[in-house]
Amino acid sequence: MANIQEKIAKLYPEAVVEQADTLTITIDDARWHNLAQTLRDDFSMDYLVTIVGMDWKESLGCIYYLMSSKTNEIIAVKVSTTDRERPMLHSVADLWRVACLYEREVYDFFGIIFIGNPDMRRLFLNIDWKGYPLRKDYDEDPALNPVSIENERQSDLTDTWVEENGKVVKKEVQVFAPEDFVVNIGPQHPATHGVLRFRTAVDGEEIKKIDVYMGYIHRGVEKLCESLTYPQTLHYMDRLDYFSAHNYHHGLCLLFERAAGIEISRRAQVIRVMMDELSRIASHCLFIGTYCMDLGATTMLFYTLRVREQILDIMEKTCGARMTFNYDCIGGVMQDLAPDFVQDVKALLAVLPENIKEYNKIFTGNVIARKRMEGVGVLTREDAISYAVTGPSGRASGWACDMRKLKPYSIYSELDFNEVTATEGDSMARFKVRLLEIEESAKILAQLVDNIPEGEYCVKVPKVLKIPAGQYFEIVEGCRGAFALYLESDGTTKPYRLKIAPPCLTLAGVVDHITRGTKIADLITIGGSLDYIVPDMDR
């Protein structure tokens, strides 16, 4: 780290480099693109974790979180502009493919225009939406943006802003070529796994281009969090990726605890990790079930849901709910474990191997399944990193991106488990990685189930929690990939800004890339194998 700091200071003397929670570089917009290039090429910062849009009242800007796939270091770069009327920054969409999507998100929420981004449309809100909701001076008057049953205006055009002779000009470009035949799939379609919409240009059976339309379940969680106290914000984590409820809670609790300087007991840590791994098994089971159902093997759903129900029973006994558990809290967990917990987990571990064997027997070796999955939707390692496809989908492309290994949090560094990776990068690999991950999670559970230490399950925390002013960043592994959180605190009881960077957004962002040239029926296979959760990407 010190190394990077020195080198950057030498190369860019005007940049301000400081070591806060993360190494943060502040640079002006004019030099930002050069710096980005240097960081990516010379410091192998090839994974763009997220772009946090910010409204600091006197200025608007972005914080780019970058991670190196080689050294696992994370750095942040801050770029801002004081122009509130027509804020502009330079795009880095040419360096990281995923940036195009992230920048659209920032544009949607803050109205910052990115010069050079090929597709500057709104992402979640409709074209005629008035105002930029995450700005601090946003007018929330429902009369401005009423709920309407009228169809929203559609456009086949998108904007791009380019620099010509020192001036920035706006250009309109067509999303699809004039001769393209565009088929609409979704938002109400059983195979899109939720309310996601694909505008698909096809040439006969072949997909030429997909324009992913999101926002059909955009619930404005980030804005809502700004008006809630820290403990209150936690419950939204259950409702993003509802299968990773425990993992997301865990992440946000870690963030708050680190920021507020709270140490939690070993018992709470073990309980949290066990719950995370149970969720992972349940989530992957549901994935296998629904995925096989998409491919026509309906009965698999009943087999896999059997295990999921067993896990839900374990959770229900302890947390009191089958979903939306709201279990991890600041300082530990809400309640102590149910008396039968250990016994139930052991019972689960005893039946898991048989079940996995059964799944393989019924489905994995099946000729039809193999024909439909092998070699379909190949994603290379470079593309996985550039598109920030993390989680099992990234690992299936050979990118070891498990945050439990790269940035071990809680007690993960003490545990013995393997990071499952594959090299094929096709749908089959994504399917198999998840199947194997169930076994790894079971391994973790087996190590912990007899070693749950005594102690308090929740330490005392102040009734009114205030977090010292500053910026904090946390990244954990959800069931579908890296889940990053950014908190900017101004020292009060509520977050000034809480940015949630979910894994599923990038999973949807890569659909266009990997479906090009495949058959339209493969869209179902590929979309299913990526396993995105729509409320998670839309927030």
Partner: protein, 202 residues
């Protein structure tokens, strides 16, 4: 008349007042014996094979999936034929948050359901906006958008609660006047005039 379904004892139902009100309305409207008996027969059939539309936007939808699986098994009640096309479905279980962008789509799906059609608002989001009520991009309950027959509270409601909700609906179906009632037929021309299509310019 004690209206019940699936051998559930009449006293076990939570809100019998509303069904009694419906029964009275039915009685007062008056029909001749033959049509009345035919109505009963048809309603018996309809109430035991309500087909849902596969419609879920978020968390609540996952509990709906559980409902379809072996443990809660809604096939026991004749509701398992979840249809992906609204044209083939009888009712719509609105499981999940409805946000501004989804509203026109949702409304269109409702319009596409064939009469007689029903809506169950499932979960606090569909009822009132739930935990997201204060958001800038969430509809505060679906009642402003479509008429709702049954509300199932919860976040998410347990599958048992959903079963209870659909059973309430099937009870309601039993006391409807079918001929000349819910089975009304409109001429296409009249229908289109009363439901102008906007936003489509061709």
């Amino acid at each position: 008349m004690e209206v019940t379904t699936k051998s559930m004892p009449y006293e076990a139902w939570k809100d019998n007042e509303y069904i009694e009100k419906l029964v009275n309305e039915l009685k007062e409207s008056g029909t001749n014996v033959i049509v009345g008996q035919l109505d009963k027969l048809i309603n018996w059939g309809r109430s035991n094979s309500l087909w849902p539309l596969t419609f879920a936007t978020s968390c609540c939808g996952i509990e709906f999936v559980s409902l379809g699986a072996a443990r809660f098994d809604m096939a026991r009640f004749g509701w398992e034929v979840a249809r992906a096309s609204p044209r083939q479905a009888d009712f719509m279980m609105v499981a999940g948050t409805i946000v501004n962008r989804m509203v026109p789509v949702f409304r269109r799906l409702y319009d596409q359901l064939a009469e007689p059609k029903y809506v169950i608002a499932c979960g606090s989001c569909a009822i009132s906006g739930g935990p997201f009520r204060k958001s800038y991009h969430v509809a505060k309950g679906i009642e402003d958008i479509v008429p709702v027959d049954v509300f199932v509270p919860g976040c998410p409601p347990r599958p048992e609660a959903m079963i209870y909700g659909i059973m309430q609906l099937s009870r309601k179906v039993k006391v409807e006047k079918f001929f000349g009632g819910v089975n009304r037929q409109e001429k296409q021309q009249e229908f289109l005039e009363s439901h102008p299509v906007s936003g489509v310019n061709d």
